[in-house]
Symmetry: C2
Subunit: 349 residues, 2 copies
DNA sequence: CTGTTAGCGCCTTCAT
DNA sequence: ATGAAGGCGCTAACAG
């Protein structure tokens, strides 16, 4: 029951001054106000100054909806991510936001929580808002999404992967190779019995690719992977901890565990602590993404540094380039790097 | 040089069908299409079905800008945060987004990177986009911001604190009390020589309040706080690690360190590891916010669980309630809770 | 319950 | 370089 705040929906809206008010105060027409705003070069400096003075005096802010309606450009970009609750996507989104803001665009944020049907729905909302471009996470999406985007005809970029078919503009890195590198590292240390902690692979190409990378490394080394030593779950510590407990309870537990991201790896480490399994003496484990969470563990987590921030920045630069008609590479594969720390060592004798 | 993607800015935009097209196909007027969309109850069921069929067939999505221009409601809410790169605000924002999405609103995200002038600037942008309401982080803002909001006359909520003056709607918790609780815990353990790791307090009321909470606890216990044992810096591990190194290099280093958030605490722990200072034997340390980062350390970090997610949800519910004219408490103080773990113990003998 | 009409605020021709 | 006029797509007010 907030007395002064509980009522008054949008109704209290004070009178907002419009271009007409500015025009009157500056003694010009609304057309000149518009020009002063959008093409200052095409206005007499003196007139320009008068208009600007009037704008300041009235606190005039152009009405975006009217502008968008007329010019067919909203100066908004839609970002569609699984969830910014996950630090990774939050960081990428922040980098994207910074680039957009610097160019005068606003970011409309949508989440789909790993539901590709929801992704189509939120995209329709973004279309409704008239966003000028879209940024998505991942390569795999509902065909209806691409149909919608195609219809809408505006730029979009997929991130966190590079489309091998080159069908959709995309910026990211080779997830498979990243997991391969982590796995290969433990193979080289002498491990032969591997486990896998992974995100649910349904509709998640990052997780799929990372799993494939691990399997490829093992296959290449002539090591058979026992699928009974793989566990899939939601990206949180409690789940991964439970998953690791299952692996440790097996008759022949793995001596090396590949995790498709740092969260799973740290959850796994928690389970090891629960059971007195020593890392790296009894078990080696790797993450992917090289987050603070992993790097601050004891021992510190061996991981793969992925271009979390660069992806966001590159995606922003790409859509802006396309919006202004500047040529720009539609496919960008960014580098990653294995970071070896204390969580990996040769297997126990 | 993406051949098919490099050119074509917005120009490729396919013809988007409008209400007129739907009306023609359904054999009704555009007004009925509008009503079918906004007040389905006021349309003959049979007509409604025909309209819906036409909408589906054409893949019609209402033009948000036109709708906003006419109805003065954009169905967008602006969220202005320091940065979603910081996991805390990302999680709150995600919770907010979920609530808004469920009610048909979209979230426009703006960041100001702890620059209150930038905050005014991005708010102007949001005003330009015609957002229906605003959500801010923190209680302290540029007076021009409030002037702007006042002019605009739409609902807004401040978060992560509750305005003691009851001048601005706000939802959060008592930051001072949270820091007080953490400090008090270590006082009770017998500590007398305290250190502080804090965010830069300029324009950051959360950090200010938390620092005051620590000082209040000490003062109440009759313990003098030596300001030379306080360090202020940006919220990242490298900075806090360096800050802690400075504290440890003092002639009489603290035996208990209060950190205004978990990141500082974990950075502090890293410095202790660097120097072989044992936690909690040689030094006790506390965080605030109870993040995974702190909870997974060895030893686990004693912290204060703050309502990170609830703040976002409550903020969303409040602005929506106000937007639809439903009464709603304008001030909400949410609970927090001290979580004692292994990083705190009595001081060394 | 449905159609007609007018106009939201701005940008963009087209004249001048 | 500037002004006058029309209309972007939709919804609100009013008739019928």
């Amino acid at each position: 029951m907030g007395a002064p705040f509980g009522r008054s929906p949008a109704s209290t809206a004070a009178v907002r001054s419009g271009a007409k008010d500015v025009a009157r105060l500056a003694g010009v027409s609304t057309a000149t106000v518009s020009r002063a705003l959008n093409f200052p070069g095409r206005v007499e400096p003196e007139t320009l100054a008068r208009v600007r003075q009037a704008i300041d005096q009235l606190g005039y802010v152009p009405h975006g909806a009217a502008r968008a309606l007329r010019s067919r450009r909203s100066q908004m970009v839609g970002a569609v991510v699984p969830s910014v609750d996950y630090a990774l996507y939050a960081r990428t989104t922040s980098a994207l936001q910074a680039v957009l803001d610097a160019k005068g665009y606003s970011l409309v944020l949508a989440e789909h929580h790993y539901d590709l049907a929801a992704e189509v729905r939120v995209t329709e909302q973004l279309v409704g808002h008239g966003v000028d471009a879209f940024v998505y996470v991942g390569l795999h999406h509902d065909p209806r999404l691409f149909a919608l985007l195609d219809d809408y005809g505006r730029p979009y970029v997929l991130t966190w992967g590079v489309d091998p078919m080159r069908r959709h503009p995309s910026v990211g890195f080779d997830n498979r190779a990243a997991a391969y590198a982590a796995t290969r590292h433990m193979i080289d240390l002498g491990h032969r019995r591997f486990g896998l902690l992974s995100a649910v692979t349904t509709d998640n190409d990052r997780a799929i690719e990372r799993g494939l990378g691990m399997r490829a490394a093992l296959a290449q080394a002539g090591i058979a992977f026992d699928e009974s030593r793989a566990r899939y779950g939601p990206i949180d510590l409690a789940a991964s901890r439970a998953m690791m407990h299952e692996l440790l309870a097996l008759d022949a537990p793995p001596t090396a565990v590949v995790s498709t991201n740092d969260v799973f790896a740290v959850g796994g480490m928690l389970a090891c602590r629960d059971r007195g399994v020593r890392i790296p003496d009894d078990l080696s484990i790797t993450g992917i993404d090289n987050t603070d969470l992993g790097a601050t563990q004891t021992p510190a987590l061996t991981s793969v540094r992925t271009p979390i921030v660069d992806i966001g920045r590159a995606a922003g630069e790409q859509v802006i380039a396309r919006l202004v008609g500047r040529p720009h590479a539609a496919f960008e594969s960014l580098p990653f790097e294995l970071v070896v720390r204390g969580s990996t060592a040769p297997p126990p004798a």
